[in-house]
């Protein structure tokens, strides 16, 4: 519809313009006809046509400039327009120029051929002939009049009038008048009695008469008929003048007129020859210029109309190339270009649909991937996927939690690169890398290593990935931190042992002790001193050993028993100095404390925490002897988005062997001669029941070091 709206006025405009051009040119052509009424408008028509041509040339110039500008900007369709316009102009101009050239030639030759020397001479001769014929007649009338004057001599005024009547009749004159010397009319006679006043000679004639005695001339004062005016001097006493007017026969007048008209016309045409050529050339040039300009201008408009869909198509194609598929080009005409535009619209719509579908599918896939990633990142198990060159592709959050390394930052690197950067994890990472490279099937391996939180046990499962064609495309490793699980299993086993020991062993101990004491009491007085001494020693040994066993069983039961948690808020910054105060007096050990933050409050069972402190201090005291240094540090720590209170126990004792590091918290593991080996096991149990953790500070090499973390309030 929009196309029609645009096209309608343009076509009307073109028709109007052509109509105007034709009308104007036709008017100008008509005006050149001598008889035309438009003759008077010729100059105006010339100006209007020239103005029209200038306007059209202006329009063409504007269009050309605009086209050149478009060409410079390399606008769509500009080159096609230029080519079509050039072709049209060339095709229109060449024949027009040829026709114009030959027309001018014909025009000039045609006008020149009107005139030649023979006609020129013939014209002059015929005029001269007319003049000679009239001259002869004039001379003859003069002679006749001169002969007549004798009859007037010696006549009275009345006689003169009468005689003149006769003379006029006789001579065939139309009028005869006698003037006095002063010009007064003496007598007059006319063929037409109604003409009372005779014609009077003018000043020039009187002057001529005074110079010559006679005067003869053609009197052209009457349009329709020629008269010959003859005036002769009558020589009497008083000079008088006789004027006779002789009519020239009508036929001769007509002939003379005709000859004169033709001669004048010919002379005029001859004079106007160059102007005529110029005038016709001008008209012809204007016709050509105007029609050519109009044609070129219309060509500009038409070609623009034709090229418009191509332009739109080019723009549309560029838009599609840039990814804008929402193009719907207007179909301007139901022709081949219109069909092309329709096909283009169809194509771009299809591409847009396909693009939308692909986008939707992409979004779907992305959603799926995000969903999977969410699941993976929320898994407690760490998952790392590898490509075919064992380079990391993805890693979830749990991997970070287990390794304490942002594995996802090492995408496109191998585990070995990771190991190079994090030496503490080099061992397990190398193991996993080896397993990845070696395994052709699903594998499972338990890997233990010393992490920053102490010994960590990982349960790793690896699955190599294969493409449908069977080639290896990567692998996935899933690993769980099973340290706590294994520890819990161990703790449970030991708890069970302890409970059984307490139950099975403690029960018979009291009767044994009582029996031994009774033996000593009953038999003390009855035995020989030597035997009594043996008895005493034996019963003492029994009682001591039973006591020792009781103590051991108590420790076990304590270990087995869940620390009764009567939780309250405890400020460790207060509690630790309280406990230390008990030891400060009885030993020579130097205690160094460093409390970085204050307060350091935890929620815990006060008795259980005291136990922990006692056990750890005792442990340190036992390791260092009487003259050691014990460092106790308290600070806040943040781990896995939770606040912890960290206690650091360091002594300058012999330290812990590396092979013992992962076992010191198990029951019955001790490096000391004394003790049940349950101290650290109880500490660990209490701490873990409070949600905390303890590990050997492997960074500290001067002695033994323990790190305790308890959740802060």
């Amino acid at each position: 519809m929009a196309g029609r709206k645009v096209r309608f006025p343009v076509s009307v405009l073109i028709f109007v313009l052509f109509g105007f051009v034709l009308l104007s040119l036709q008017l100008m052509s008509s005006a050149t006809q001598e008889s035309s009424e438009l003759n008077e408008l010729y100059s105006w028509l010339l100006i209007i046509n020239a103005l029209g041509s200038i306007i059209l040339l202006g329009l063409i110039s504007v269009n050309t400039v605009s086209l050149v500008r478009q060409l410079k900007k390399r606008e769509a369709g500009s080159r096609l327009t230029t080519r079509m316009v050039s072709l049209f102009v060339l095709l229109a101009l060449a024949p027009a120029a040829i026709v114009f050239y030959f027309s001018m030639q014909f025009l000039h030759q045609g006008i020149d051929s009107w005139f030649n020397v023979e006609i020129d001479r013939a014209m002059e001769d015929s005029l001269e002939l007319s003049q000679v014929a009239l001259d002869q007649r004039m001379r003859w009338y003069l002679k006749q009049t001169e002969q007549l004057i004798d009859r007037l001599s010696d006549k009275s005024e009345a006689g003169v009038t009468l005689e003149m009547e006769h003379m006029r009749d006789f001579s065939g004159a139309s009028e005869m008048t006698l003037f006095s010397r002063q010009g007064r009319i003496i007598a007059s006679s006319s063929i037409n009695p109604s003409e009372i006043l005779p014609s009077i000679p003018d000043e020039h004639i009187w002057m001529r008469l005074r110079q010559n005695s006679n005067y003869v001339a053609l009197d052209p004062s009457l349009e329709e008929q020629l008269r010959i005016q003859v005036i002769v001097t009558v020589n009497s006493d008083d000079i008088q003048y006789l004027q006779a007017l002789y009519p020239v026969p009508l036929r001769i007048t007509d002939l003379a007129d005709s000859v004169e008209f033709a001669f004048v016309r010919y002379q005029e045409m001859n004079f106007l020859r160059d102007s005529l050529k110029l005038s016709f050339s001008l008209a012809l040039s204007l016709v050509l210029l105007m029609s050519l300009s109009a044609a070129i201008w219309v060509a500009f408009i038409s070609i623009r109309e034709i090229v418009q869909p191509v332009k739109e198509l080019v723009k549309g194609t560029q838009a599609v190339a840039q990814g804008h598929y929402e193009q719907c080009l207007p179909v301007m005409a139901q022709d081949d270009l219109g069909f092309l535009v329709e096909s283009f619209n169809d194509m771009s719509q299809r591409i847009a649909r396909a693009r939308d579908e692909t986008r939707m599918a992409g979004i779907e896939v992305e959603n799926q991937r995000a969903y999977l990633e969410t699941i993976l990142s929320n898994l407690t198990a760490g998952v790392i996927s590898f490509d075919r060159y064992y380079k990391i592709r993805t890693a979830n959050q749990a991997a970070y939690r287990i390794f304490h390394i942002q594995v996802s930052r090492f995408v496109d690197q191998t585990l070995l690169d990771l190991a190079d950067e994090h030496k503490e994890l080099a061992e397990p990472l190398r193991q996993i890398q080896e397993l990845l490279e070696q395994a052709d099937d699903i594998w499972e391996q338990r890997i233990s290593f010393l992490g920053i939180n102490g010994l960590q046990e990982l349960l790793c499962r690896g699955t190599p990935l294969f493409s449908p064609e069977g080639s290896r495309v990567g692998a996935v490793v899933v690993f769980d931190d099973v340290t706590d699980l294994i520890q819990a299993q161990k703790n449970a086993a030991w708890g069970e042992v302890a409970r059984r020991l307490a139950h099975e062993i403690k029960n018979p101990l009291t009767p044994i002790q009582l029996s031994a004491e009774r033996l000593q009491l009953k038999l003390a007085g009855e035995l020989q001193p030597k035997s009594q001494e043996i008895l005493l020693r034996s019963t003492q040994t029994i009682v001591q050993q039973v006591e020792a066993m009781k103590e051991m069983v108590d420790d076990f039961s304590q270990y087995a028993r869940a620390s009764k948690k009567q939780t309250e808020n405890i400020d460790l910054a207060i509690l630790v100095p309280e406990v230390l105060a008990l030891y400060a007096l009885q030993s020579g050990v130097k205690f160094i404390t460093a409390f970085n933050d204050n307060p350091l409050v935890i929620s815990a069972d006060r008795v259980a925490i005291r136990q922990v402190l006692h056990n750890l201090i005792k442990n340190a005291l036992e390791a260092t002897g009487k003259t050691g240094e014990i460092y106790i540090g308290l600070s806040r720590a943040r781990k896995n988005n939770a606040n912890f209170i960290e206690m650091l126990f360091r002594d300058n004792g012999p330290g812990i062997n590396e092979d013992q590091v992962d076992k010191v918290f198990e029951p019955y593991v001790t490096t000391k001669a004394k003790g049940t080996g349950l101290g650290l096991a109880i500490v660990k149990k209490i701490i873990e029941e409070h949600g905390g953790s303890i590990w050997v500070d492997t960074v500290y090499k001067e002695g033994a070091g323990f790190v305790v973390q308890l959740p802060a309030v």
Partner: protein, 184 residues
């Protein structure tokens, strides 16, 4: 292209400067006198024909002039008020048969033949005792002037000569208004 060249040629002619050493039309011996309460104008218009015009006349082409006379009241703030205007159309034509020049006053078709051109032109240029206005029609407090203008009618020329007549100084045969005060 050819058309363009021709047009350019025509315009080149048109912009050629006009070398008019002697004015083509001179108005001499202007006399405004009062007779019996009437103002009368006498003047002598000298037609100095160019060679081209003379030649055209000789070849039988009639030449036309319009002679206008007016009396107007000078006014300071608005246009002058014309109280009298008179116009006459004159034609001069060569008569080949009689080898004479005929001067015709178109409005009353009065014509006169002259044996030579100078006599014809002299007579054509004569204005004798042209009645202008009555003294009583004029306000004694106001200033009046009389003007004569001679206009050569190019449009009366044969068609092929017309375009040229507008651009060729040989055909500049008109005068502007020439004004004289009317003495009270």
């Amino acid at each position: 292209m050819l058309c363009l060249l021709i047009l350019a040629g025509i315009f080149a002619v048109s912009v050629r400067p006009v070398h008019a050493q002697i004015p083509r039309i001179e108005i001499k011996d202007v006399l405004i006198n009062r007779q019996d309460g009437h103002y009368q104008l006498s003047a002598n218009i000298v037609y100095n024909l160019s060679s081209k015009a003379r030649n055209a006349l000789q070849k039988g082409i009639p030449l036309y002039w319009d002679v206008s006379v007016k009396v107007a009241q000078s006014r300071n703030w608005i246009w002058d008020k014309t109280i009298f205007s008179y116009s006459t159309r004159l034609r001069i034509q060569y008569q080949a048969l009689f080898n004479s020049y005929r001067v015709t006053r178109i409005e009353n078709n009065e014509s006169e033949s002259y044996s030579n051109l100078q006599a014809a032109l002299t007579d054509m240029g004569l204005i004798k005792d042209l009645m202008l206005v009555k003294q009583s029609e004029m306000d004694p407090d106001q200033n009046y002037y009389a003007g004569i203008k001679v206009n050569f009618d190019r449009e009366a020329l044969p068609l092929p000569l017309r375009p040229e007549s507008y651009v060729n100084s040989q055909w500049y045969l008109s005068s502007d208004w020439m004004l004289w005060p009317v003495e009270k």
